[in-house]
């Protein structure tokens, strides 16, 4: 099997989906000849033509709204928002239309669309290019929010997202686009949505994360292993709806939990998981649930972004603290 980067895996999945299903349409800024600013759509316009791989005007709200209209007509649009910092104008369409088209028409119209966008900081990008506001999206009923953390999962989950009959926001960890490499067979096989992946088993503490932060989280698990602490690492993968039973099952086993995300602390999606545990996992809990997150400030520009993002050291310290608690 060939080794590909995460962004190449995205590209493979898009190509596969378009080849399999003539209703799949890709749209966004620079997705055509340019192949996307991160090359996620490279080659697609050549293969499938400018009508199915469409450079839109510079208007994010439009992109999301076009997807809703196309999807209601039975197409399977895959819209790209160039950076997550530009997704906010889409929220009106996501909250008021995409997520509720099926419900409000009682199934008469549906919205099988995907909105892809790079997520997170760490590539020394300019202002407004480093957002990680997945918690806003994961609060929206009717929506799915999915975030892969490896090429393999990027491929399988994106295929699943495109085939899913409901709207999915697909958040791609920018920092891993080229940094993450792995073997991916372009066999058209999707991975299941709504399911968390246990990346590493362990009995002492549960580490839960998603997207790019799994890199630091796995590194922290390695370090903890050196200290004799066996960490179980969970990739949540789908944030909405999320896999409550895998979370609770792991915490039932370990009794200790650290949640890691890059987004600001207050109201981040880590809060939801900690709250789940505080309600349904309390009896097995041996230590406070610790959230290791970005700080509650504006994500700084390039010079300080590394200091904003959770480090391996912060994760290890938190996990150690959880394990020492009694």
């Amino acid at each position: 099997m060939p080794e590909v980067t995460l962004v190449e895996a995205i590209n493979l999945a898009l190509g596969r989906a378009m080849a399999d299903d003539p209703d799949v349409v890709v749209l966004g800024q620079d997705v055509g000849v340019n192949g996307g600013v991160f090359r996620a759509t490279v080659g697609l316009q050549e293969r499938f033509g400018p009508e199915r791989v469409l450079d839109t005007p510079l208007a994010e709200l439009l992109i999301s709204g076009l997807c809703v209209g196309m999807a209601a007509q039975g197409l399977k649009p895959v819209g790209e928002i160039q950076f997550m910092g530009f997704i906010y104008p889409c929220l009106d369409q996501l909250v008021n239309h995409a997520s509720r088209m099926r419900n409000r028409t009682q199934g008469r119209l549906t919205c099988p669309m995907v909105l892809r966008t790079p997520h997170g900081a760490g590539i020394r990008a300019p202002e407004h290019h480093s957002e990680s506001t997945e918690a806003m999206l994961a609060h929206i009923p009717g929506l799915r929010v999915v975030m892969p953390s490896s090429p393999e999962r990027a491929y399988g989950l994106l295929l699943a997202a495109i085939r899913d009959p409901d709207p999915v926001v697909f958040l791609e960890p920018t920092r891993l686009y080229r940094a993450a490499k792995g073997e991916v067979e372009d066999n058209g096989e999707a991975l299941p949505l709504d399911i968390a992946f246990v990346l590493r088993e362990g009995r002492d503490v549960t580490l839960i994360s998603w997207g790019a932060m799994l890199k630091e989280t796995m590194a922290a698990a390695d370090k903890l292993a050196d200290e004799g602490i066996a960490a179980e690492v969970i990739d949540l993968a789908t944030l909405k709806p999320y896999d409550e039973s895998t979370v609770l099952g792991s915490v039932a086993k370990t009794g200790r939990c650290v949640i890691v995300h890059e987004a600001a602390h207050t109201g981040g999606f880590g809060a939801e998981i900690a709250a789940l545990i505080a309600e349904h996992g309390l009896s097995s809990l041996l230590a406070p649930v610790i959230r290791v997150t970005g700080y509650d400030t504006i994500i700084p520009m390039a010079r300080l972004e590394q200091r904003y993002m959770p480090s391996v050291g912060r994760i290890v310290t938190a996990a150690r603290k959880a394990c020492q608690y009694n």
């Binding site: 005007p57 709200l61 709204g65 076009l66 007509q73 099926r102 199934g107 119209l109 709806p241």
Partner: protein
């Protein structure tokens, strides 16, 4: 004017103009030779009947609201010619994307009266209507259906289907960025898409002059690179003619068009509104002279296409039809609470199935 201030010696590189269309004068006389379809009395009478039904239905709906049997409701009083005229020019396979005030268009397209009541009565089943299955439900967030219309029209074009999307909204909506973005996109791809702005002079209490500084709404199409026209929106013949031409051209691959239907909202904004707070009774009174139903009736009567007996019979028919629909509406069995989870996703994820069970009064083991 775009050139108002430019030095006169600089060369003009682009010129634009906006025309206005009307046929029937307010008194029912003819201002301009009628279009071909208007030679068919049957069609004119059908337009007339639909407008009357709409007005009577609106009246009944308000009564239901006033007596607590319906939620907030938006009447079309004075604007009936717009939605009826537009819908009458559409084919079933065309796609309608209406605003909350476009009852008249839905009715023409086969949505049942009781379905409209269900919607305004606060029941999602009203959106699961008997109109064309691809039509959109009423859009409440103003203008937010315009990008959908562009997406629909793009899909139609991509599949080379000879259908047209028709997107309706108010004068207020023309201030919204999403409407502009959709228009601009339609202009790029010459989409089969007709925009209809019902310019009823008011967006709740905000008068047109605070809504935009443009002389017409029709000229907003210039920004998007396609044609726009102003139409007398109280003249159903003009509305139908404008729609017919625009839809035919769009179907023909000639691209989008923008219709500004100039009319007046004779009623309150909705049943929650009291328009006397912000406009005078005199202003409203003056506009009664232009309203579309009396206007068409005058013409029909003058042409001997309509009699007093016809009018009486129509009133009776409408009354019967409306009462029967109200009865069906009022006796529609309520939805069970847990059905609020139905059609949330194609398959309800396990995480939420438990909530559905809780709501149904079932308790998890």
């Amino acid at each position: 004017m775009a050139s108002k201030r430019a030095n006169e010696e600089l060369p003009v590189i682009a010129r634009f103009e906006v025309r206005r269309r009307n046929y029937l004068a307010p008194d029912g006389s003819i201002d301009r030779p009628l279009p071909a379809f208007a030679t068919d009395p049957k069609l004119l009478v059908e337009l007339y009947r639909s407008m009357v039904l709409l007005r009577l239905f609106d009246r009944k709906a308000v009564a239901l609201q006033r007596t607590g049997r319906l939620g907030t409701y938006a009447v079309s009083l004075g604007q009936e010619a717009v939605s009826v005229g537009i819908a009458s020019a559409m084919r079933e396979d065309d796609v309608l994307l209406p605003s909350y005030r476009d009852n008249g268009a839905l009715l023409w397209r086969g949505v049942k009266l009781e379905e409209i009541l269900l919607f305004w009565g606060g029941d999602e089943r009203g959106n699961q209507f008997s109109g064309p299955v691809h039509d959109f439900p009423f859009c409440v967030p103003v203008g937010s259906q315009a990008p959908h219309a562009a997406g629909v029209a793009y899909a139609l074009k991509l599949r080379k289907e000879p259908h047209v999307a028709v997107c309706m909204f108010g004068d207020g909506a023309t201030s919204k960025g999403d409407v502009y973005e959709a228009m601009n996109f339609a202009g790029v791809h010459k989409l089969p898409l007709v925009f209809v702005a019902t310019n009823n002079q008011w967006a709740i209490s905000v008068p047109l002059r605070l809504q935009t500084g443009s002389e017409t709404l029709a000229q907003k199409a210039i920004a998007a690179g396609f044609s726009g026209e102003q139409v007398d929106g109280s003249d159903v013949v003009a509305m139908r003619a404008a729609a017919e031409e625009a839809i035919a051209a769009a179907r023909d691959g000639k691209g989008p068009h923008f219709i500004e239907a100039v009319t007046y909202r004779l009623g309150d904004h909705t049943t929650s509104d009291d328009a006397l707070r912000y406009r005078s009774a005199e202003e409203v009174q003056a506009h009664w002279k232009e309203e579309p139903i009396a206007r068409l009736r005058s013409y029909l009567v003058g042409q001997k296409m309509w009699t007093k007996a016809d009018e009486e019979q129509l009133a009776a028919e409408c009354h019967e039809r409306i009462e029967a629909a109200v009865e069906r509406y009022l006796t529609t069995p309520p939805r069970r609470a847990e059905t609020m989870f139905d059609n949330l996703y194609a398959d309800l994820p396990e995480a939420y199935a438990a909530q559905r069970r809780e709501l149904a009064g079932e308790h998890d083991a």
